[in-house]
């Protein structure tokens, strides 16, 4: 696919200019927060509509507006801000250092990952050597520090939640690595910008199994039902987050919002790469993100929660089968399809 030519087309020299990159990274912080909030809002709104509820209001009626503002689109952010104003409690039984530092590191990982994932038309840090591997590391670390903080809480609920999270973690992180590896293998690129600028057709068409795999991973990583086993509130209160309150809990919620942005953008960057080559494709990026959110919501509202045993068995089996298919397709594309006109744009 030819990159569109126009005013918005940024020259490669500008894209590689360190000052420009630094500026875009700084701009990306509020933009990322904005988009993460919007995604959080859409997820809530869509779930609510499926469940015969109103959800957060887009336009608050006149009577209520002076009290709660004219819109509640920013509800996910308000929730976090409210938590920031609450008491930050640490249980006496907790290992205090690990318990209180973990939310910051988890949040930092999810937030920094945002810079290594490109935005339509903006490289950010995604052309850094091996940026794909860095992103994988950061996404894994965000989950790992959640578990670490929970296991330092000294509460039975947290420990059970942490153990369940670890068990799921083993499954979905394998899926994450395999899915991205399959794409990297076909394109022979380990930087995300390299994948974006690769001349091949979008990977969603070439290797749909890898795309499906990443979608399955998103279900686990974002704790979408039926895989919110670690946070099963009726069984183990709030799982890993049981003992967290105030700012620490707010940071975890923010981590989740950023993870949602990271994963959705990563999915689009890797599997519908061409739309990341120019700012003009932003509408397509939005459409892609909404479609992904819609699919996530559908899965969320249609399912009750799995038990950990059946959940792991079912989810593990599906992930393994899809992983194998994704690798086979990737290998086939690499050995037999390379250079063939059918796969290049």
């Amino acid at each position: 696919m030819m990159p569109p030519v126009g005013l918005l087309e940024l020259s490669s020299s500008l894209l590689n200019n360190p000052i420009f990159i630094a500026a875009t990274v700084i701009v990306m912080i509020p933009v990322g927060l904005f988009l993460a909030t919007i995604y959080g809002f859409l997820f809530r709104k869509l779930s609510a509509r499926f469940q015969w509820r109103m959800g957060p209001l887009i336009r608050v009626n006149k009577d209520l507006a002076p009290l709660i503002g004219s819109t509640r689109i920013w509800q996910p952010l308000y929730d976090v801000l409210k938590l920031f104003g609450k008491d930050n409690l640490t249980p006496a039984s907790a290992r205090k250092a690990v318990f209180s530092v973990s939310p910051y590191i988890a949040f930092a990982c999810a937030a920094v990952a945002l810079f290594f994932i490109p935005f339509p038309g903006l490289t950010l840090l995604s052309n850094v050597q091996d940026s794909l591997v860095i992103v994988v590391y950061l996404l894994i670390s965000a989950a790992a520090f959640t578990v670490l903080g929970a296991s330092a809480a000294g509460s039975p609920w947290s420990s059970i939640g942490a153990r369940r999270e670890i068990e799921l973690f083993m499954v979905y992180e394998i899926g994450l690595v395999v899915s991205l590896f399959a794409v990297a293998f076909t394109t022979q690129q380990t930087t995300i910008w390299g994948i974006v600028t690769s001349p091949l057709l979008p990977m969603l068409i070439l290797n749909p199994f890898a795309a499906a795999l990443l979608f399955l991973v998103m279900l686990g990583k974002l704790a979408i039902k039926p895989l919110d086993i670690a946070e099963a509130e009726c069984e183990i209160v709030a799982g890993p987050y049981t003992e967290y309150s105030g700012r620490n809990l707010g940071l975890f919620q923010l981590t989740k919002l950023f993870l949602m942005y990271d994963l959705i953008t990563l999915f689009l960057a890797v599997f519908i790469a061409p739309i990341f080559q120019s700012l003009v494709w932003i509408p397509l990026y939005v459409v892609g993100a909404v479609v992904l959110l819609f699919l996530l919501t559908v899965v969320q509202v249609l399912h009750p929660r799995y038990k950990i045993s059946t959940g792991l068995a079912t989810y593990g089996a599906i992930i393994i089968v899809v992983s194998i298919l994704a690798i086979i397709v990737a290998a086939a594309l690499y050995y037999y399809g390379a250079g063939a006109p059918i796969i290049t744009g």
Binding site: W52, A232, H303, P304, Y306, K307, I308, S309
Partner: protein, 588 residues
């Protein structure tokens, strides 16, 4: 309606069943009162339960001040004789209130004995379980209760050896329970009301379980005793917000059995209509709660949305959503117009269609099946021995339904209303789900038939009650959504000095207050069965097993529920409430 006891049955009881009985008094509706000696109680229980297969409905006691205690056992003989209920009563000495325990024969009696032990101070010889039922374990102090907080946990739960009857009582020693690894409750997202389920885990597997209730106990028996028959029904209704109609019917049935009551047919239909509407909304609510426990918010929202349609019908008929306040001794207080009956009939059809669209796919959902099948197992023998009732028992292949065997004063006559008992052999939570879903549709059919009748006829809805003779006793049974509900009442009265007695009259003065009221709710039974289902399950299954019996803690402890979820913080006076209710009726 009133049926005296069949003379042959009385003879049969005297000769063959209870030859030890010293006093036989037929009560209304084929119920018999038999006085026995305290030492014969366990022998009789063994004969009844083990040989005749009779079910114990409830056991309780009355404190008669200086006269001692009356301990009574209500047995359900409906498997042998039509509608026969036997009340065995033994008088205990005040100085030495000791009676043989029947809890060692059958688990059904374990909870009532614990309750009598802690509230009346009655000692049960050979009792297997003497822990507090409602009071905190460590009450009144560590020395007397033998329980100290913070003691070291023993490696094994202190379960007693199997009893002579061959069953092992479940339960964790209080010392261990207080230090148990996972206390689910008193406040926990999986349960709405206060209770504690102690579970001991190995990995994710439950190896030991116990339940502690008593967080709601406010003594409603006494409240009703002091309010009398006519005002007591409002208190009875408020025992449970979800099955208030069934408490109302059971209460008035019990009072009507204290005298020769005649209830107009239209009132019977009205009672059935409301009871079944109540059952529909209760079961729909349960499906929603179960979905929520399984983490399926969509199911919760949609079922509760449909439940509102039922609540609308109830509100149109009674003016209230939860506590209807229309139950009267001898009939009902409000009639339903033919137009309203027709209008309600029109909404029942679409409701059934909507539920048919929703519920069968829910029952077939693969994740729901994986969560419910073979979870919370309860086989027939355990169900019978532990005294499970309602959908829990019916899902264990036990065809038990008080509406059929010992109906309340409502219209469940199979000649006039066609309905059937739904039961199955799944013996797990999935079976309980199916029973409730099927029952719900049966209830909708009953509602349609009642509305059909009410829309075509008119008539009286209440007869004036008669005087209640002092000392008369009655049992009122009803099938609530959660299972069999039992009310026992004994009319109050006092002896007059002989110089005050007119010639030709008895010296007993009647009273408008009952001497005693005893209530056995279905959750009281099913909660006792709970530990049997929990042991051997996974931690993830614990909330849904607890949910599967449709727990009602308020019922178990028998209290008034006070909902304080008011958003604004001003207090309404009685006058405000009266004005509000008047305004509501003016506006309509």
């Amino acid at each position: 309606m009133t049926v005296g006891i069949d003379p042959n049955t009385l003879e049969w009881l005297k000769k063959e069943v209870v030859p030890e009985g010293t006093d036989f008094k037929p009560l209304r509706e084929n119920r018999v009162y038999i006085r026995v000696k305290p030492q014969d109680v366990d022998k009789l229980a063994e004969r009844f339960v083990k040989k005749l297969g009779v079910r114990l409905i409830h056991a309780s006691g009355v404190d008669l001040a200086q006269f001692g205690f009356d301990i009574f056992y209500i047995y359900d003989f409906t498997n042998l004789k039509d509608k026969l209920v036997v009340v065995l009563e033994a008088r205990l000495d005040k100085d030495n209130p000791t009676i043989p325990s029947i809890g060692k024969l059958t688990w059904q009696a374990a909870w009532p004995e614990r309750e009598m032990h802690e509230f009346l101070g009655v000692n049960f010889e050979g009792s297997v379980d003497n822990r507090h039922q409602f009071l905190p374990y460590e009450w009144p102090n560590e020395t007397e209760s033998g329980v100290a907080l913070g003691q070291a946990v023993e490696a094994n739960p202190n379960n007693p050896a199997p009893t002579a009857a061959g069953w092992r009582p479940v339960g964790i020693n209080p010392k261990n329970a207080l230090a148990s690894l996972i206390p689910i409750g008193p406040y926990h997202p999986g349960v709405i009301e206060g209770q504690t389920v102690y579970i001991r885990l190995e990995g994710e597997h439950v190896v030991d379980a116990d339940i502690k209730t008593g967080y709601h106990h406010r003594g409603i028996h006494r409240l009703i005793e002091r309010r009398g028959y006519n005002r007591g029904v409002y208190a009875a209704e408020r025992i449970c917000g979800i099955c208030s109609a069934h408490h109302g019917i059971a209460f008035v049935t019990c009072v009507e059995n204290l005298y020769d009551a005649e209830v107009p047919e239209r009132a019977l239909y009205l009672r059935t209509l409301l009871a079944e509407l109540n059952r529909i909304h209760s079961h729909v609510l349960w499906i929603g709660v179960a979905a929520d426990i399984l983490g399926w918010k969509t199911g919760f929202m949609i079922t509760w949305g449909l439940r509102e349609k039922v609540m609308d019908i109830i509100e149109a008929i009674t003016g209230n959503r939860v506590n209807y306040g229309i139950w009267r001794v001898g009939g009902m207080s409000r009639d339903i117009s033919q137009e309203l009956a027709n209008a309600a009939l029109k909404t029942v059809g679409p409701l059934k269609e909507n539920l048919l669209k929703l519920l069968p796919p829910v029952a077939e959902h693969p994740v729901i099946k994986s969560r419910l099948i073979n979870v919370g197992p309860l086989d027939y023998a355990t169900a019978v021995d532990t005294g499970a009732v309602g959908p829990v028992a019916r899902a264990s292949n036990w065809k038990i339904d008080t509406r059929a065997t010992n109906p309340p004063h409502a219209m469940y006559d199979p000649k006039k209303i066609s309905w059937e008992i739904k039961y199955n052999d799944h013996r797990d939570i999935y079976g309980r789900l199916l029973v409730r879903v099927q029952e719900l549709f049966v209830s909708i059919d009953i509602v349609a038939q009642c509305l059909e009748y009410l829309s075509k006829t008119t008539g009286e809805i209440r007869n004036t009650p008669k005087m209640i003779e002092p000392g008369s006793e009655a049992v009122g049974l009803n099938e609530a959504p959660r299972g069999e509900l039992c009310y026992y009442m004994r009319a109050g009265g006092s002896e007059l000095p002989s110089y005050m007695v007119p010639p030709g009259k008895t010296n007993v003065q009647g009273s408008n207050l009952p001497q005693c009221v005893r209530i056995r709710t279905p959750s009281y039974r099913n909660n006792a069965v709970l530990p049997y289902m929990l042991i051997g399950s996974a931690l993830a299954d614990v909330p849904i097993i607890m949910g599967s019996i449709d727990q009602c803690q308020a019922c178990t402890d028998r209290v008034e529920i006070v909902n304080d979820k008011t958003e604004s913080s001003y207090t309404m006076s009685w006058g405000d409430l009266v004005r509000m209710s008047q305004k509501k009726w003016r506006d309509q």
